[in-house]
């Protein structure tokens, strides 16, 4: 094993030989070998050298950069970043799906609400399942001379939010812990004020609103009276509960709104009770039918048949009750009073002239939205960027490792 000094001596002899300096006598052969190796140096082809000179002078034309871009997009190069992005997308989609499912469950448990709806009070569910339920608590919003803004309608602070009814089912069934869907009976009333010569027109439009395909309601009753002094009318409308807010918004556009009220009553307990009665009656009928099949005497069979008739009646009543309760939740009553006032303003004129305060509010709102978008973009871009960076680092590490290995493999 040569010493470090011997190694350095031989290396110096190589450098001396390459530099044309004399080499120590015992290292002549090494010096000769060094020169021979230098003589074996491959020479560049002049044709290739000229082509390369041209490309360098031209700054390596775009075609070569395009091919380099294609190399970047090659499957091998994009493998790790591609896998990383796929995993991130899968995580984001799963999170979005889970979040939307959670929101739907919350929405179902609290009852459907539209975005511009009035904040509603929910009356506490009835203690006795056979009663008619708790009293409705109206959310009164009376404005004098101006249409009340949606945001001004707030629940009373003294009314606590009710707790959801206890879950039904049991015996360890998978549905035992599921909360029943809330059933809410909603109602609304509003007073519209129109100019005397507009009363009939507004009345006609009120009825047309209910008939619109997007509303899908019907008129329960209506009465209109017009005279020289003005006139008025009253309407009782029934609209699908899930379209109540849209109907109220449309009605509000017809004339000046001097008052508007909404109420909601939780009838989940009633619905649950009615359904339970129906289910119990059906179960009882099933049991009686089994007993009838096993009856051995005419007397016994007659007695069972009498009970079957009785339970059949109870089934019909329970079914009717259930349908009635369901209908109360599915449709909402809207009471509209129409009065006349020569000073009434056209709702299209309301809203006021555009003022600097409006512009400031709009600007602040835009800034809020922009900031929210920026935060979301950063929240998405940051982990994505980290994953891509990790992917690139992993690719480079793999390339370095591969280069080290190839020298030993070749």
């Amino acid at each position: 094993m040569p010493t470090d000094a011997e190694i350095q001596r031989e290396l110096d002899a190589i450098d001396d030989a390459l530099a044309g300096r004399p080499v120590e006598h015992d290292l002549t052969e090494l010096g000769t070998l060094a020169l021979a190796l230098r003589d074996e140096r491959p020479e560049i082809d002049p044709r290739f050298a000229g082509q390369l000179d041209t490309r360098v002078a031209a700054g390596f034309p775009k075609e070569s950069r395009r091919s380099r871009f294609a190399t970047w997009l090659s499957p091998r190069t994009m493998l790790v970043p591609g896998v990383a992005m796929s995993m991130l997308l899968a995580v984001l989609v799963s999170a979005a799906v889970l979040t939307s499912q959670g929101d739907n469950e919350i929405r179902e448990s609290l009852g459907a609400k539209s975005d511009d709806s009035v904040v509603q009070e929910l009356s506490p569910p009835a203690e006795d399942s056979t009663s008619g339920g708790g009293a409705a608590r109206p959310t009164k919003t009376t404005a004098s001379g101006a249409a009340p803004a949606i945001s001004e309608l707030q629940p009373s602070s003294s009314t606590p939010l009710p707790t959801p009814p206890p879950p039904t089912g049991g015996n360890g069934s998978p549905r035992a812990d599921r909360k029943p869907a809330r059933k809410v009976e909603r109602a609304a009333s509003m007073t519209l004020v129109a100019k005397p010569d507009e009363v009939q027109n507004v009345a006609d439009r009120i009825i047309r609103v209910v008939d619109e395909p997007g509303i899908g309601g019907f008129v329960v009753s209506s009465s209109v009276n017009t005279n020289d002094g003005g006139g008025g009318g009253s309407f009782l409308l029934r609209v699908p509960t899930n379209r109540l807010d849209g109907a109220l918004a449309r009605l509000s556009q017809l004339a000046h709104v001097s008052s508007r009220e909404q109420s909601a009553q939780d009838i989940t307990a009633e619905h649950t009770s009615a359904r339970a009665r129906l289910q119990n009656a059906r179960a009882e009928r099933k049991s009686l039918l089994r007993r009838l099949a096993k009856a051995t005497t005419d007397l016994e069979a007659a007695a069972i048949k009498a009970q079957l008739r009785d339970v059949g009646t109870r089934i019909a009543v329970a079914r009717t009750d259930l349908a009635r309760v369901a209908n109360r939740a599915s449709f909402s009553n809207v009471s509209v009073s129409l009065t006349s006032d020569p000073q009434a303003t056209d709702p299209e004129d309301e809203g006021g002239a555009w003022a600097p305060g409006d512009a400031l509010r709009d600007a602040l709102r835009i800034l809020e939205v922009a900031a929210g978008v920026a935060v979301i973009a950063i929240a998405i871009a940051l982990p994505l960027g980290l994953l891509i960076a990790l992917g690139v680092l992993a690719s480079r590490w793999a390339a370095r490792r591969g280069r080290r290995r190839v020298l030993d493999a070749v």
């Binding site: 060094a34 074996e40 491959p42 490309r55 070749v410």
Partner: protein, 177 residues
């Protein structure tokens, strides 16, 4: 080892672009010689040489002189390109025989020189790639000890040891023939 070819110059060059051109002129043939010896394939060596200079051109503005010499930086790029080529092709084609220059040697020396060159060439071709690379960097690219260490990513002492080891193997292969 410097190039004697003249590149067309463009006007208004910044200092960094001029440095790249100077580096290219000085190292073009050296890079080709190194790559050709390592790959033992002239066609592949031309491709890799062009690729190496293209990469160097793209990155030349980010070169930091505090991290090493320009030649060491350039040969590091060339080395990576050559190793990538080795990984991709895993060829072991031999270089075609270069004809002797018949005007410089006497007849009785021609045979001896040819035999020596053949023996050296054959022994070099049979060396493992790791040893062949060190010899190519030293004798064909003309790197000094510091540049050799920088390209290989080792200390100067280790670079000298690697070179000595490669030369020992080469001498053993030649003597065995």
């Amino acid at each position: 080892m410097t190039s004697t070819l003249t590149l067309p110059r463009t006007a208004s060059k910044s200092a960094a672009e001029l440095d790249f051109e100077a580096l290219y002129r000085a190292a073009r043939d050296d890079v080709f010689a190194y790559v050709a010896t390592l790959l033992r394939d002239r066609a592949a060596a031309e491709d890799v040489t062009a690729l190496a200079f293209e990469r160097a051109y793209r990155k030349h503005r980010s070169f930091d002189a505090r991290r090493g010499s320009a030649r060491g930086w350039l040969f590091g790029i060339a080395r990576n390109a050559a190793l990538d080529e080795l990984r991709r092709r895993k060829r072991q084609a031999a270089l075609p025989f270069d004809p002797e220059d018949a005007t410089t040697a006497q007849p009785e020396d021609v045979l001896e020189t040819a035999l020596r060159r053949t023996a050296v060439r054959a022994a070099l071709a049979d060396l493992p790639a790791r040893d062949r690379e060190v010899i190519a960097l030293k004798f064909h690219a003309g790197l000094d000890a510091a540049e050799l260490a920088e390209v290989l990513g080792v200390s100067r002492t280790n670079a000298g040891t690697l070179l000595h080891r490669a030369m020992t193997k080469l001498r053993g292969a030649i003597d065995a023939d």
